[in-house]
């Protein structure tokens, strides 16, 4: 959302690096290929609504004893 998109969704993921001709660092980090989608808001109103939906309350801090 920080870049200006809404409706982000990862739609697919899979190992796309196994058995590549040369050894890769991909496996060291559990790297997978993904597809994702997102959408530019229709207007500022939709963007502001999406931003507001992200707002969260911070619970009261526990007392330190």
């Amino acid at each position: 959302m920080a870049a200006g998109f809404v409706d982000f969704e990862i739609t697919w993921q899979a190992d796309v690096f196994s058995d590549a001709p040369q050894q890769s660092s991909a496996a060291d980090f559990g790297t997978v290929g993904i597809n994702f989608r997102a959408r530019k808001p229709v207007d500022d109103a939709e963007w502001n609504t999406a931003l507001e939906a992200l707002a969260c309350e911070i619970s009261d801090q526990p007392k330190v004893e």
């Binding site: 690096f17 001709p21 991909a26 997978v32 993904i34 989608r37 959408r39 530019k40």
Partner: protein
């Protein structure tokens, strides 16, 4: 050497760009040599590209394909739409998109590697696709008008950008309101330490 660095990690941007260009120049001119990632027709099968999509796409584009996902499986690209392919490489996805949007649509492919662009342009001519054009440029500052695109596609490119937020903002800039991102990329499932992020060879290998 440029002293410009990514704001999040100490990394020389020009050195990184040069390393990426050199890697993908090899993918363009020596596609058979074998890389740390799959390429070409075997990769299209791994990623679920339909054979019908590849019909009429010149082999010079297919052989240098180095994507990590499948933008076309996310949502349909429709007749008449305008599409930007960010980091188009040798053009396979741009040419597939050009066939999908048809003569009333338009595709712009952007890439920073001249050897890849040369293959893309050659393929477009061979395939007789006049609704696609290719431009040299960076994903963070594309030679595309604001609000031009119905869809932005990209495949295996965003992971190479040190400043992903800046690249995504640029994608947002070129999209029309309500425009779609359809992206293939990678995800790591283990945290990458800062020390690793500062190693250029880990970005390309």
């Amino acid at each position: 050497m440029s002293n410009r660095t990514s704001k999040d990690i100490e990394l020389d941007m020009e050195e990184l760009r040069t390393a990426i260009q050199e890697e993908y120049k090899e993918v363009a001119i020596n596609p058979q040599q074998g890389f740390h990632f799959h390429t070409g027709r075997p990769l299209t099968r791994i990623l679920g590209y339909h054979n019908v999509w590849l019909e009429g796409i010149p082999e010079t584009s297919i052989e240098s394909f180095a994507g990590t996902g499948n933008p076309f499986s996310i949502d349909a690209i429709r007749q008449g739409e305008q599409v930007v392919d960010v980091g188009c490489g040798a053009g396979i996805d741009s040419l597939i998109a050009a066939k999908m949007v048809g003569p009333t649509g338009k595709v712009i492919g952007v890439d920073m590697t001249p050897a890849m662009l040369a293959k893309a342009m050659s393929s477009a001519a061979e395939a007789q696709l006049s609704n696609v054009e290719f431009h040299e440029g960076y994903a963070e500052s594309m030679p595309v008008p604001s609000g031009w695109a119905d869809v932005v596609i990209s495949n295996g490119v965003l992971n190479l950008m040190p400043d992903k937020a800046a690249t995504l903002k640029e994608m947002a800039r070129v999209l029309k309101p309500d425009g779609r991102l359809q992206i293939g990329d990678i995800l790591v499932q283990k945290a990458v330490p800062t020390s690793a992020k500062q190693k250029i060879d880990l970005w390309t290998g």
